[in-house]
Symmetry: C2
Subunit: 238 residues, 2 copies
């Protein structure tokens, strides 16, 4: 169904992108020349050039005048541990709290949300939407869900402090830990694409997680929507 909707340069882009992202063509390596790629894929140089321009726009390659096209460094890693926090990433990147409140809304917990927050089904919850940016090349759209009556005014605290860690501290939460993380991918919602400055046909990585307090009681259910290629999630198990 979709095949013939796809321009040839996009197919070439997806081939090269897969090799670059897997490390089969490594950071610093030079790509084959436009002529070589045109021959390999059986297309003309113009088509190859369009694919390369798109890879450059994604930050995967960079043309060096008169020398060719080279693979850029891989995106930063986000390590999942019990101490995973966005504020840690911001600290590593030498930026302060960068959370910008986009809005908040109330609803009732579905059975899925109730299970994650360990509250009864239909408990009132508040969902806080933020845009966070540790750097211009790393923007993240987030949804954070809290039990409403336990954290009245959490949205205002996030708006004031730019940080969930700081906002939670105002409610007496001194420390919290990552309990579980789920990772999925999908296409962006229109408002996510707009806030993240990505096209509607660029996929996003979605990291869903539950953070708990020192007693192991769930505090929040978060969803981080991350443009594909701007961050790689890493888990060490040995």
């Amino acid at each position: 169904m979709a095949k013939n909707r796809f321009p040839v340069w996009r197919l070439i882009q997806s081939e090269l992108e897969a090799e670059i992202r897997s490390g089969l063509i490594g950071p610093g390596d030079q790509l084959p020349s436009e002529n070589e790629l045109a021959e390999r894929f059986g297309v003309n140089r113009h088509t190859v050039r369009t694919a390369l321009a798109n890879l450059a726009m994604l930050g995967l390659v960079r043309a060096r005048r008169g020398r060719g096209v080279f693979v850029e460094d891989r995106p930063p890693e986000y390590r999942i541990t019990r101490d995973s926090k966005w504020s840690e990433i911001e600290r590593q990147m030498n930026t302060g709290p960068s959370g910008q409140l986009l809005g908040s809304s109330e609803r009732l917990a579905t059975s899925a949300i109730a299970g994650l927050l360990a509250v009864p089904v239909a408990t009132p919850i508040v969902m806080v939407e933020t845009l966070r940016g540790a750097s211009p090349s790393l923007l993240i759209y987030s949804y954070h869900v809290f039990e409403r009556d336990r954290f009245v005014g959490i949205d205002a605290a996030v708006s004031r402090t730019g940080s969930f860690t700081d906002a939670l501290a105002e409610f007496g939460v001194e420390a919290f830990f990552r309990a579980s993380t789920w990772i999925d991918c999908r296409m962006p919602r229109p408002r996510e694409a707009e806030a993240l400055s990505i096209p509607l046909d660029a996929p996003v990585l979605v990291m869903m997680y539950v953070d708990s307090d020192t007693a192991g009681r769930p505090l929040l259910y978060g969803n981080a929507v991350i443009p594909s290629g701007s961050l790689v999630v890493r888990i060490d198990t040995l």
Copy 2:
């Protein structure tokens, strides 16, 4: 650039898909009626119906005759631990080894691959491509990279046994463990889309990993290409 290429039903699909995947509309919940959705998004019922049909095709919702449209159960979880193995998933799903050899090729290790396999740069490596299916709704396209001279004939062993665990045993590897995992997402390569029976505009989750032997020496670098929505990766840290 992309916005006006996108039909309205796809935007509605992405809105509902985001809510379903995050659990904000939970498994078993009924979606609002076609009329309510048409009003909410300011479109006609035909557009809503196209979006719902696509969500059904993705396995996210199911229409029950005369009763409405309901959210399906979430996809199976793949837990990342030091014992993570595809053969474990197959065992959980009561299927045997399902690996089907698609091909193998040789190349030289880039610095990225060399670092992952702990071999010198430009060491000959062999890349084995397989298609694995624990169930009809869970197909995975995989690339496994090995040091060629250490595992001569690994491709034939995989072809014979349908399993990397069994193939490695033929080389004296009694046990192995997941050392590190990286998770990314991208659009599929044409041959991946074809083998996985997904459209070229459906994103894939890519799980990259290094498995090591009992002495901690890397054995293989794997890439699993998983259609979006057929599996959710899970990490427990508390």
